[in-house]
């Protein structure tokens, strides 16, 4: 069971890194901000899996905080920082 969880955690990390690399290079600022969603869901998933495999229940608290604060980052981006469609050509 622990092996399966480790495998799933590794798989999620690989997914996250792949998506982050693609999104960070994405053409529009919006593509980069999809990161807020990725961090909130995938990062939380990895942390709860680690909590179980490493027998560290405190990591569930880290996951909770991450889930909460990813929302703040996403909203800050959408409402404040993203003001024009520039960046589509470079």
């Amino acid at each position: 069971m622990t092996t399966l969880m480790q495998a799933v955690a590794l798989f999620l990390l690989a997914n996250l890194v792949l998506a982050l690399v693609v999104a960070a290079r994405g053409p529009t600022p919006a593509d980069r901000m999809l990161m807020a969603l990725l961090i909130g869901t995938t990062g939380t998933g990895i942390l709860v899996l680690l909590a179980q495999t490493m027998h560290l229940p405190a990591l569930v608290d880290v996951a909770l905080v991450l889930a909460l604060l990813a929302a703040i980052g996403g909203i800050a981006f959408a409402r404040r920082a993203w003001q024009d469609v520039e960046g589509e050509h470079d």
């Binding site: 960070a24 404040r80 920082a81 993203w82």
Partner: protein, 82 residues
């Protein structure tokens, strides 16, 4: 399995740190900084330090990222009006 996990995590940490410093554009650098914060808190979790991971997730990825994005927005608006 855990070795591969740690290796991938360390490599992506280095990648995001390098990209954060090497990116000329401010908005991309901020987003990469947020990514770095997330990966860093995962790294603290792997090092069995949930308290530091918690602080990193809250301060590094969450609040600093939001504040930097906000400051970037203010800069853009100043430049637009000036």
């Amino acid at each position: 399995m855990t070795f591969v996990f740690d290796l991938l995590l360390a490599l992506s940490l280095l990648w995001s740190a390098w990209r954060t410093l090497a990116t000329p554009r401010l908005d991309r650098a901020i987003v990469l900084f947020i990514i770095f914060g997330l990966l860093m808190s995962l790294a603290w979790a792997r090092l069995a330090a949930p308290d530091i991971g918690l602080a990193e997730a809250a301060i590094g990825a969450g609040l600093t990222g939001a504040l930097l994005l906000d400051a970037y927005g203010v800069l853009l608006r100043r430049r637009g009006t000036a």
